[in-house]
Amino acid sequence: LLNGVECEPYISCDDMLMRENATDVVSGAQILMHALQVNVCFIAVESDKPEALRALGEALGVIKDSRIVLKQVPTIYPSGGEDQLVQLVTNREVPSGGLPTDVGCLVQNVGTAAAVHDWIIGNTPLISRVTTVTGDGVARPINVRARIGTTIGEIIETTGGYTERAEMLIIGGPMTGKSVSTDRVPLVKATNCVLVLSHTPSPGPEMPCIRCGDCAAVCPVQLLPQQLFWYACADDEVKLREFGLMDCIECGCCDLVCPSHIPLTADFRVAKGRIRELADEKARAARARQRFEARNQRLEREKDARETELAMQKESAKAAAPSAIAEILKRKQKKTRKNEDDK
């Protein structure tokens, strides 16, 4: 399964890649299929990317490989998530805590396929990638191919620089990206987007949850964020697990529809961290207990060994006793006799 679905709104680097390097993507897909010995490959592309669809269609027309199927999917965030795409294309559910391979799928990005082609056919290792530079904080939003390791600052400078009011720098998209405090960070192979905003989006004051359930309606994993939020406030680990907190993909959809402006995703991230911490602690405690028990057992064993040895010594001493006593008596008699003689 080749993932040509953009991860998040604003991002268009995969679209660009598919438009310009469609043949490379298809060829990369063939190489991957050969390596994996699979018979079917879907290339999933969103329906609002007609040019990418056309380019891929043309590339498939030239290459003519009936095992590769172009699949159009609706443009609904977060379809680009690995597990979500598997469900969308194959109607199989990736088990909780499992991987797509558990249901017979392997998901790779179109960028990966193109990189595989460049490496095998073009003899070029992965030294550059296409990234989206966008947001109202940059002068010229653009998709650029940049060497991995270039600093974000340099990329933005070469593409036109910041606008006057650049307030936030986000590595990744607007939904799950990370805001950073400086642009002196490098482009890495996973940097699909650099987003610069001219304002800090403020959701307004946090109000109490009114249990409207809008968050549950948009959750791609069908969790109940309103219940999770309650249990996260109460720090109820058992309930949090039962209601699937660990299945949360942190897509941010619930935050966006919440009329009470509760930072649900951030809260869930914290709650997950605590649960992991607790699990670690438990594991540590279990290990410590194991070690303690092992030590007790060892001490017990050693004590037993000493006791048996002691018993054996006693036994042998006992066995040797009559002759030894006789000896001593003999010696004593000798001594007295000697004394008497001396007198």
Binding site: G98, S202, I210, C212, L224, F243
Partner: protein, 351 residues
């Protein structure tokens, strides 16, 4: 260059609690106009009284609980509670009756349970039931709807205001001259006196479906309700559930014995059915939250309304139905949890 930092997502949400509540208030406006048209300006005075006391109660509780005033008073939820309470009361209601209901709704039913989002019972309905228990006779004072051929004395604006403030009518006017039993009361007492539906329906106050005047207010409420549905402020499950729960038994009973059972149309447009289905039962805080749960919650309310109307001693049962289903919500929510993607149906992991 130094950039600001904050956690994802970086898009600001569009919806807000206050916008939600304002939508609900706006959806009530057409029905309020119809109400004034048919039953005089009493509703406006009730609205004023309940709003003032609900807001005062809210402000008092927020300061007592030392909460941020801007998060409590600007969410307009107290206003919605006040408006729904005013809609549930007859147009002629003395101010202390309305005030008792409004204060109980906001202070006891809402804030003593932890404020917005934590209350178990629908505040407006809790306030209404307190009035029903404390001042039962005041809830019978429905003036007759103002229709050309219905010959009842009507009160002027000033007389209505005087009644609201003092609870007494001008000397020349008696209650009997202006007020009539509501269609639901007529139906209930008629059936209790073993009269047939045809006889009961011959009473001039009965309209095409649910009683003259009332059925038109019902239409405007439904209009506002559909607007809320289109705006996605409310979801379809609860209104449809209430309708199903009420209409299915009503239709069956009507088909079995049309002589002693009111028609489904009467049940749908009579009393507070429409107000309940679109505005009261859909209160998100006290309703079930999962889609399936909401349908069950709505059906439960509909069934209870029908049971109370048909077999109970009260002529309408919306408030009791809502409060009873409020109690069932945690159980409904627990048993209607949606399937989590990637889990097996026992809630455990299958990976």
């Amino acid at each position: 260059m130094e950039f600001q930092r904050r956690p994802a997502p970086f898009l600001a949400p569009e919806a807000s609690v206050s916008a939600l509540m304002l939508h609900v208030l706006a959806a009530l406006v057409p029905a309020a106009i119809a109400h004034v048209w048919y039953f005089g300006p009493g509703l406006l005075f009730n609205l004023l009284v309940s709003t003032v006391f609900a807001a005062a109660g809210e402000a008092l509780m927020i300061s007592l609980r030392s909460r941020e005033p801007e998060t409590g008073l600007t969410d307009y939820s107290a206003l919605v509670t006040a408006a729904l309470l005013a809609f549930a009361l007859p147009s002629l209601t003395p101010w202390w009756v309305t005030a008792t209901g409004a204060l109980f709704a906001v202070i006891v039913a809402k804030h003593l349970y932890g404020g917005l989002g934590f209350n178990i019972f629908n505040p407006a309905m809790a306030g209404y039931v307190v009035i029903l228990v404390a001042f039962p006779m005041h809830l019978n004072l429905w003036v007759a709807p103002s229709m050309g051929d219905l010959d009842y004395q009507k009160l002027t604006v000033l007389q209505t205001l005087t009644f609201t403030l003092t609870g007494s009518l001008p000397d020349a006017i008696s209650f009997d001259a202006i007020s009539r039993a509501t269609p639901l009361d007529v139906m209930k007492s008629g059936l209790n006196n073993a009269r047939t539906i045809t006889e009961i329906r011959a009473v001039p106050i009965m309209g095409d479906f649910g009683g003259r005047g009332w059925e038109w207010i019902g239409n405007f409420l439904a209009f506002g309700g559909f607007w809320l549905l289109i705006k996605k402020i409310i979801r379809w499950q609860i209104p449809v559930g209430v309708g199903l729960g009420l209409l299915v038994p009503a239709t069956i009973m009507y088909m079995v014995d049309p002589g002693s059972n009111a028609s489904p149309g009467f049940h749908l447009f009579g009393g507070a059915t429409i107000l309940c289905a679109f505005f009261i039962a859909t209160d998100p805080v006290t309703a079930a939250t999962s889609p399936k749960g909401r349908l069950i919650y709505g059906i439960g309310i509909g069934l209870l309304i029908y049971s109370i109307r048909r077999w109970g001693s009260y002529s309408d049962g919306v408030a009791f139905a809502i409060l009873m289903m409020n109690m069932a919500v945690p159980a409904i929510d627990y048993f209607t949890r949606p399937h989590i993607i990637g889990h097996d149906d026992n809630g455990g992991h299958n990976g």
